[in-house]
Structure formats: C-alpha cells, structure tokens
Symmetry: D2
Subunit: 292 residues, 4 copies
Amino acid sequence: MLTGIKMAVLGGDARMVEVISHALDLDASVYLIGFEDLEINMADAVKTNLTPDILRDLDALILPVTGMGDDWTIVSKYSARPITLSDDHFANLSKRCKIFTGIARTVLNETCRRHGLKLVKLMELDEVAILNSIPSAEGAIQMAMENTDFTIHGSEIAVLGFGRCGITLARMCAGIGAKVKVGARKESDLARIVEMGFQAFPLSQISYELQQTDIVFNTVPAQILTSEVLSRMKKSCVIIDIASSPGGTDFRFAEKRGIKALLAPSLPGIVAPKTAGQIIAKTICRLVLDHA
Amino acid sequence: MLTGIKMAVLGGDARMVEVISHALDLDASVYLIGFEDLEINMADAVKTNLTPDILRDLDALILPVTGMGDDWTIVSKYSARPITLSDDHFANLSKRCKIFTGIARTVLNETCRRHGLKLVKLMELDEVAILNSIPSAEGAIQMAMENTDFTIHGSEIAVLGFGRCGITLARMCAGIGAKVKVGARKESDLARIVEMGFQAFPLSQISYELQQTDIVFNTVPAQILTSEVLSRMKKSCVIIDIASSPGGTDFRFAEKRGIKALLAPSLPGIVAPKTAGQIIAKTICRLVLDHA
Amino acid sequence: MLTGIKMAVLGGDARMVEVISHALDLDASVYLIGFEDLEINMADAVKTNLTPDILRDLDALILPVTGMGDDWTIVSKYSARPITLSDDHFANLSKRCKIFTGIARTVLNETCRRHGLKLVKLMELDEVAILNSIPSAEGAIQMAMENTDFTIHGSEIAVLGFGRCGITLARMCAGIGAKVKVGARKESDLARIVEMGFQAFPLSQISYELQQTDIVFNTVPAQILTSEVLSRMKKSCVIIDIASSPGGTDFRFAEKRGIKALLAPSLPGIVAPKTAGQIIAKTICRLVLDHA
Amino acid sequence: MLTGIKMAVLGGDARMVEVISHALDLDASVYLIGFEDLEINMADAVKTNLTPDILRDLDALILPVTGMGDDWTIVSKYSARPITLSDDHFANLSKRCKIFTGIARTVLNETCRRHGLKLVKLMELDEVAILNSIPSAEGAIQMAMENTDFTIHGSEIAVLGFGRCGITLARMCAGIGAKVKVGARKESDLARIVEMGFQAFPLSQISYELQQTDIVFNTVPAQILTSEVLSRMKKSCVIIDIASSPGGTDFRFAEKRGIKALLAPSLPGIVAPKTAGQIIAKTICRLVLDHA
Ligand SMILES: NC(=O)c1ccc[n+]([C@@H]2O[C@H](COP(=O)([O-])OP(=O)(O)OC[C@H]3O[C@@H](n4cnc5c(N)ncnc54)[C@H](OP(=O)(O)O)[C@@H]3O)[C@@H](O)[C@H]2O)c1
Ligand SMILES: NC(=O)c1ccc[n+]([C@@H]2O[C@H](COP(=O)([O-])OP(=O)(O)OC[C@H]3O[C@@H](n4cnc5c(N)ncnc54)[C@H](OP(=O)(O)O)[C@@H]3O)[C@@H](O)[C@H]2O)c1
Ligand SMILES: NC(=O)c1ccc[n+]([C@@H]2O[C@H](COP(=O)([O-])OP(=O)(O)OC[C@H]3O[C@@H](n4cnc5c(N)ncnc54)[C@H](OP(=O)(O)O)[C@@H]3O)[C@@H](O)[C@H]2O)c1
Ligand SMILES: NC(=O)c1ccc[n+]([C@@H]2O[C@H](COP(=O)([O-])OP(=O)(O)OC[C@H]3O[C@@H](n4cnc5c(N)ncnc54)[C@H](OP(=O)(O)O)[C@@H]3O)[C@@H](O)[C@H]2O)c1
C-alpha cells in the first residue's frame, strides 16, 4: 500500500490514467496537473496546479512517457494547453522526491542532476522494456495481419534480433502457428533460439536466409535490411520494422523493389494504452514503495 | 499432377485466383469464365465463354464459394456483369464432371440432383472447415486486437464452443499468452480442453463463468450470450461473435448494457483470401485427382 | 455432494484408493471390500463383507479397472485372497444401483444384462479415454527418455494415429521441443494436425515418411509398422508402441533388424496411479451424481 | 570444413565419441589417445600415443568434460588405465594449439597459463550451458516422472531460478501441461517469466509460494529450500535439485519431514550422452574453425 504517499501526475496520455488509478487503488494521494478534460470520479485525486506547497511535499513526480521537452513544456492529452515547468519547480522538490519519466531529454537530465534529484527513466529499465515488448509484439503482429492477404499460421516468418522484443515476437508468432526463424549475432542467443524451438541463423547470413520469408519483423536498430538483402527477398514479403527510428530497413529500396515495408513506432501507447499504462503504473508504484 | 484434366472456373473472388493458379501448377487445363478484369499471364489458362463444347469435356466445374443464386446468377469480382447459368448448361455436362461450390442453395442442389451430377459442397467438408478455422481464428483475433485497448496476452479470454473454430481459437489465444477458458457441453470436449491446458467449463455455467472475462469469442450458433449472461459480464468486455448469422449474442441487449459486441461474418475471404483460396484449391485438386 | 449415497468398492489397485478418498470427500458412505491391508483412517469408510443387507442398499458398486474375471473372481492389491462373487450378489442389488468397471468380460456383461443392472464400462467412455491419454502419453515419453541416449528436444518424432492418445502425445512431444510429424488416414485429421503445427502425412505413405525418424510412438491398433516399413527406418530409431496388445509393430522383424521396439501396456496404472485413479474417481462420482 | 586440421582426443566418455565422429565428418585428422576399447571404423581416426611429434603439430587438444585431475591423470571410459600427462606434453604443444576441456582444475589452469596456451573451458561458455540445459531439463523431468505417482500434466510445478536451466525447465514443463510458477530475484526475470506465460514470484516469498506445489525443480546454487520453507510444503511434494553440489536443499530436514528430495548431478552425460556429446562437438569444431 502507498498510504501517506503523495504523488503528482503531470499530463500525458491514456497511459497516465492507469497510473492514477493504480496509485489511488494503493491508497496514495494523487495530484493531477493538466487533466482538466479528464472525467474521473475518484476520491483522493485532486485536480490542482503546481504550487510550491504541493511540490515540497511530494514523494513522486510523474511525467509523461515522452518526458519534458527541451523547451520545458509537457504535453497533455487532457488539457488544451501544454504545462510549462521552470527551474523553480525542481528547486521546490524535496530531495526524497523521485521523478519518473519514460525517456529524458537533455534539459530534464541536466536539471535533475543539478538539483540532486533522482530521475527514473522508465523506458530504460529492463523490466519495463520486457513487459512493453508484449504490446509491441502484439501491435506488430496486428499490423502484419492487416497488411497481408495470408495467415500468420503456416507462414515463414523471420524475426531479426533476439532481445526484449525479438523473444516475445518469436514466441507469439510460433504460438499462432507460424514457422519462425530468428536471426541473432551472439552464439548464446542462437543457442536459446534453438532451445525455444525456433530455427536459428547468424545475422551474417541474413541475405541467404530471408529468400523464402513471407513476413519479416525487424527489432535490430541498425540497417540490416539493406538493398542487397532486399533484392533477394520475395516481392510479396511484408516487413514490419519496429526498431527505433529510422528502423533497420532501406525503405527507399524496399519501395523501389515493391516490397511493403512499414516502420512501426510507439506501438504500446497506440495499440494497447491500457496495458502499457498498467506496466508503467505497477513499476512506478513498486519503485516508490521499495524506498518509501 | 492434373495433366489432361479440364477444369472451368466460373467467377468468384480473390480466392478463385488461388484455385486457378494451383490447378495450373498441377498442369490442368483451365477455362476462365467471368474473369475479364483479371490480369493473369499464365499459359494454359484460357478466358472463354460457356460453350456446349467446353462443357461436354469438363472434369470439374468450379463455382464461387458463395455458389449460384436461386436466380441462376453467379457473381464475379473480375467481371462487370454476373454470369447467368441455365438448365442447358448443366445438361451439357458429362456425368464424370464434378461440380464444386462453397455452399449450395436450393436451385443448385435441385439441378444437380435432377441431372445426376456430383455436387461437392466444400464448406461442408470437415477438412475444409478445419483448415478454414485458421483464417477465421486469426481474423477474429485481429478484430479483438483492433477493438481493445489492452493486449490479448494476459487477458482473461473465453471461447464458447470447442468445434472446428473453437479449438483453433483457444490454441492461438493461449499461444499469444492469454488465460483461456473454454465452454463446451460434451464431457469429452471438456476432457480435451483440460488436456490442451485450457480451463474447462460446462456451458450450463456460462453466466457464472464469464463474469471476469475480458474478451469472449463465440462459435456456438445458438443464442447463448443471453441478456441474463450479458448482464453479469464486465462492461469493458468485448465480444467477437463468429457464429453464422445471427450469431449467438443478444446484440440488442449488449448495446444497451454498453458491451461492445461484433458479429464477424465470412472472415477467411476477408482477412486472408490467399490462404482461404489455397485451402479450397488444394481440396478441389485433391478430390479431382482422387477420382481421375 | 454425495451425501446419503452408499457405495461399495470391491478390490483393485492404487487407483481405487483415489476413488475411495474422492467419494468420502464428497460425503458418500463407502464400504470397502477386499481392503484388509489398506491403512486408511477416514471416517465413513467401513471395511466389511458383501452381505445381502449392504448390497440391497447400494447406489453404486465399484469394481476394479480390470473388472471381474470370467471365474467370478476379483483381484485386490490390498487383500491376500481374491474376492469371489456369485450370481446371488448381483440378484441382491437394487435396480437403481450402478455397477462401475474399467472393462467388462463376458460373464460380467451377461450377468448384468440378465439382472437388468446398469453397467458402466469406464474405459469405453470417450471422456475417460481422453483424460487417460495424459498418463499414457507421459508414460510413453518417459519410456522413450529411458531408452534413448539423446533428447526428445530436437529429435524427429513420428506419432502414428491421431485419436485420443495420438493428439496428446504429439502435443506433449512438441511442447518439450521435438520436431513432430503425425500420420493419420482421415483428411480431417490431417487438417487438424496441420492446424496444431505438426507435420502431417497420410498413413499410406508411412514407409517413406519414417526414414529419418528418431522415435516412433504408435497408437494405431493394427500392424502398420510392418517389416517393409521397418526395413527402411534408421537402426537407431526407438519404437514405443502403446496400441493394445499385440500392438502395431512387427516385433520379430524389429528385433532382427536391431531396432529397439517396446510394447507398453497399461501405462496409466503403472506410471501415474494417483492421476489415473482421480480420473476414474471424478467420472464415477459425476455419473452417480448425475442420476442421483 | 576442418580439412588439414589436426586434433587429438584424450580419453573421456560416450560424449567424446560424438566429438570424434563430428570432427571426422568435417574432414579433420583425429588422433585417439586412450580409446583402446572403442570400436570405431572410420578412416582418418588414428589410435596412437602422445608422442612429441604428434603434439607439436596439433591444432586442438581435447580433454574430457571432467578435465585433468590435479594428479595429471585423465580418465577414459575406453581404456583400462588412465592417461597420465606431464608438463613436457604441454611444453611440446604449438602456441596455436587450443586446449578444450569441460571444466578445469588448478593444475590444468596453471600449466596452460605457464605455457601461454589457450584453454577453452566449455562448460563456462554461455552457449554450451544453454544447450546443455536441454538434456539437463529432460533428465530432471524424467527423474520427476520416475519419482511420482501422478502426471506432470496438471501438477503445480515450481521452478526456482530463471537462468540457463530454469528457462528450459519451465518451458518444457508447461509444454507438457503443468501449471508452472517460477521464482527469481531480478525484476527483469520476473517480467520475462510473465511474458512467457508462467506465474512469477520473487524468491523472497518462497516459503509462501511453495505451499501447494507438487514438484519443485531447483536450479539455484544456494540453500534456498531451507527447513523453514520445507516445513510449509506438502509432504507429498517431490524435489529435484539440479544445482551444483551440494544443491539448494536442506536434504537432512527434507528427509526428516518425509519429503522426497533428490540431488541430480551431471544429467546431460547420464541421460543423453549423444546429445551432450553433439553439443560439445559442434562448439569445439566451430571454435577451431573460427580461428583456423
Ligand atoms: N516500435 C515500438 O513500438 C517499439 C517498442 C519497443 C522497442 N522498440 C525498439 O525496438 C528495438 C528493439 O528493442 P528491444 O527492447 O528488443 O532491444 P534489445 O533488447 O536491445 O534488442 C535488440 C536486438 O538487436 C540486436 N542488435 C543491436 N544492434 C545490432 C547490430 N548492430 N547488429 C546486429 N544485431 C544488433 C541485439 O543483439 P545483441 O544482444 O547482440 O546486441 C538484440 O538482439 C529498439 O530500437 C527499440 O527502441 C520499438
Ligand atoms: N465468421 C466466420 O468467418 C466463420 C468461419 C467459420 C465458421 N463460422 C461459423 O462459426 C460457427 C462454428 O463453426 P465450427 O466450424 O466451429 O462449427 P462446429 O465444429 O460445428 O462447432 C460448433 C460448436 O458449437 C457447439 N454447439 C452447437 N450448438 C450448440 C448448442 N445449441 N448449445 C451448445 N453448444 C452448441 C458445438 O458443440 P457440440 O459438438 O456439442 O454440438 C461445437 O462445440 C458456425 O456457425 C459457422 O458457420 C464462421
Ligand atoms: N498402453 C497404454 O497404456 C494405453 C493407454 C491408452 C490407450 N491404449 C491403446 O492405444 C490405442 C489407441 O488408443 P486411443 O484411445 O488413442 O484410440 P483412438 O482414439 O481410437 O485412436 C486410434 C487411432 O488409430 C487409428 N486407426 C485405427 N485403426 C486403424 C487402421 N486400421 N489403420 C489406420 N489407422 C487406424 C484411428 O484412426 P481413425 O480415426 O481413422 O479410425 C485413430 O487415429 C488403443 O489400442 C488403446 O487400447 C493403450
Ligand atoms: N545437474 C545437472 O546436470 C546440471 C546441469 C546444468 C547445470 N547445473 C547446475 O545448475 C545450476 C544452474 O545452472 P544454470 O546454468 O541455470 O545457471 P545460471 O544460468 O547461472 O542460473 C542460476 C539461477 O540461479 C539464480 N541464483 C544464483 N544464486 C542465487 C542466490 N544466491 N539467490 C537467488 N537466486 C540465485 C540466478 O539468479 P541471478 O541471475 O539473479 O543471479 C539464476 O536465476 C548451477 O549450479 C549448475 O552448476 C546442473
């Protein structure tokens, strides 16, 4: 339980509603800033402004997944105007207050460092990345379903990379009934791929291995689907590239060759904001609790 | 191989293109009727009309999945006008010619009976229904993904019915990572549900069992999601009803209660026409071959 | 609950202890006949003899899985001497009393028929056969593990037959990580085999399909592993034949060729008597309850 | 291919036969030392002694999985007497020669270091440990099957630790049909456990979580199954402890409480020497090749 704990949530999207609701379930006191348009009827949730009084008392300050812009603004789906922070706001925070954000840009990093404030970048936590791989993988599979005229079941599917997202994608595709091969560069990854029942190949042999593939899911944030690789793939192959922008595909060449290749950014918040919000909510509450 | 076999394909949708292509791969001679708008560059495929000469020589006459209307017309996606058959056409067919259709309405049934022609209703074949359960299940899962803000993984999913579609749906949902319970009325089905690792419940207890469910897939073609059952379900639950029209849901009450309930007809042809076409193609060619 | 229900258990093996214990849990009154050596400290379980008084009052008479011999004797693991029944015993039973047995030989069948008594042959019930396929399959896999110097994981495994046991065996072997192919003769079975992610082959092609197989599990009660098939298999292949005696293997030829082939009878009672007993226990109690 | 490569294999067990056979398949020249009793009819395999000439020319010297004793002896299953090495043998090796062993004791480590020789400890390689987890897990499951009177399917199974062996064990048990919970201490492990569909619990809650467990597989090499934990477990629970000796169980207390607890050392070489040998064989040949 978070009884007695004071948290402020500053803007964000549907995921933050899960954070608010989970924190309230655990009996925290929650201040909502930038939620004018959110209809919520929960006791202990107070819509308010960022006054020095509130800031001084906080145990946790929760920023959106996208964090604070380098122009000190924070975007909220539930407010007409962005929230603007200032150095003063941070100065007012108590040293025991933890600041949570998805990712952190320069100014946020700098400011927290300068004020000696603990900044938790949720998207960098391995556990969050693993749990987020679930909505990411489902979103990618949904995109594949929507962009093919054949089933996942029975298809030859290649997953590139066997990190947090690659493992989940491979497991789910096989669970549906696809023939899954996975490319990785580490011998230990190739061993685990075999253990889990997928076909393993070293990424060095990628251009040979993708020739019969129907769907490629890329998770490697480096251009590995080069023109050379693409030129040997089937024209009917569909590529879902979830690696962080600009992805791992030579999109220009893919288009030229007539291969449908889609860059798929920020899937969790788009396809399953509720699940994505719960992941964040549980992690924040656990971390607040751990050190409370 | 189907060398020497003569087949005519009469209209239809994208699935028929797979039939044509598979038959040609097996070296059959294929006449295309009602495919003016289809661009196809395959030798041995002849766009033509239904002349008595052609009909007399046929080993197989292939109608669309939807069959022939009781007004003797056949719809083709690849032709501006429908094809109109007549009793004469059937009279011209040789007795060894097999007629393939997905489903058969009264007039088609009657006419074949009268002329002593063998009519194969593909959608009634158990093997076709089982293979078709694959695109059906994937289509239903895609709909569930598109209509929820949470993931399939980790959700409480109920599958109603454990026939051809129910088995496939349960297996795929569990393969993605859902917590799957399945309702059936036969003790032997309940035993197999347990063996396959799902939670089993008798359909008689449906209103008790669905109270915590996040997604319901219905495959039972009888109204089992009654207002009484619906009234005890979570409002956030999503129902994907794939049972043949009118489905198994009291849609009126579902809407009143604010439960999203979707009737999902004809999924294979919509979500995966290529796979659905290959299923039909392989079965037709196998059956032609069996008795050639 | 079975409150007020009177049951008598006549001999048997460890499985019957589960029946006794489950019936007592459901509040039945249970008479134990032929259990002198069983240490049991449960109220409501009465060790006794087959007196007419007791017989007249029974709702259920439970014989061992192996039933009654044609010499009217019943074997009990928990008694030095066998129990001997007579026609009088059956004559004393009330018409509402159900007799449960695993299998029934001639005399038992005849006697029940003559007295108009309802005889339930548990091993013939589809639900029991399906649930029993679980200990059967695990027992067969255990035998395969014990008789190979390689792992199930990664092996080429063939399952012959896709009935109650075949489905379970295929699923479990794949679950461990084997490459599983399944042979069946029905097109609908081949379709389901594909849907479940195994490789399917028609049994007509068995001698071609088994050439690279490392382990064969046979469930077909007909000699399909003929000398011709065996002669083309790898010498290192191991056959676990669970089909009812004499199995489906030409054991003489297998030995000659140096292929290890094992007939595996009555696995559930041997490898998992507790589970096997619970399956029987639940079914008996459900059937007593259904009509009570 | 290993054409032109010269390897010597010194003693060992059945696993070394796989190494010899795989190296020969890749066209290496292989000297066998300590294999008098092995019947092998392969060209290019030469049974010989450790002469300076041979040693000088070697690209790889392969010791058994158990390595060299601190008394300089090497045990061979295929020789009546152990092989005794000396410092001179190592002095004769070329600097490019790699020495492969499963594990290395003090003297072997020291000697290689002194002579500047590259020593590869196979059992410390992550890829080998992962692949070895397959026979280890199967062996542990086989032991569980042999030591229970119930099935794995349907049982409540707890796996302790989610490292190389824990992942494999959990996956296989679930594949058979068990209800699997996994205990780990890292949040990222708990996240992956959830993703893979098992129930996750922090090891700090072990004594609470094991109360209903039927089978425990321990992979944690630290005493976590303490008397306190054991005292709250079911007496019928079976523990298979595969952690390196002395395991993670208070075996004395387990016995006292009547819980069957088994320490399971060196499973791969015992239950699946062929598979275990192939794992080693492939890794050695790949490493020789990488730098050849
Ligand atoms: N679109 C979305 O919604 C979404 C959601 C989540 C993640 N992502 C993005 O997806 C990507 C994967 O995320 P993740 O969490 O799975 O990351 P991860 O755990 O770090 O996995 C990355 C994988 O790529 C491999 N890799 C990295 N660089 C490589 C290179 N130069 N050559 C070959 N292989 C390389 C890694 O192999 P090694 O282990 O050998 O380095 C690893 O297998 C990231 O770019 C992430 O930002 C996108
Ligand atoms: N939307 C689509 O794209 C699509 C695709 C394929 C199929 N379908 C439709 O989906 C439905 C299921 O197809 P299927 O191939 O799975 O059929 P199926 O194999 O016959 O399975 C039907 C299931 O429903 C149960 N059932 C039928 N009537 C019942 C009743 N009155 N009460 C309780 N249970 C009942 C059956 O149980 P018993 O075995 O005990 O009878 C069986 O478990 C059909 O209506 C079919 O037309 C739709
Ligand atoms: N050893 C044990 O502990 C143990 C335990 C359980 C069962 N069993 C025995 O194992 C066998 C299988 O049991 P089950 O419950 O799985 O039976 P089942 O459900 O009837 O399955 C039998 C399978 O064999 C096929 N088959 C039967 N006769 C055939 C033939 N002549 N040619 C080709 N295929 C044929 C059936 O195909 P169709 O559907 O096309 O007929 C079906 O796939 C039985 O003999 C049973 O007594 C042994
Ligand atoms: N019997 C056999 O045939 C056989 C075969 C293979 C391996 N083994 C033995 O089995 C054990 C596991 O092998 P492995 O390859 O799976 O090792 P591993 O990958 O290192 O996994 C060990 C697991 O134990 C956990 N762990 C270690 N120390 C712990 C502690 N003090 N408290 C809580 N958790 C702890 C680790 O968690 P962290 O990641 O948090 O450290 C990890 O989850 C080893 O002892 C190994 O020698 C035996």
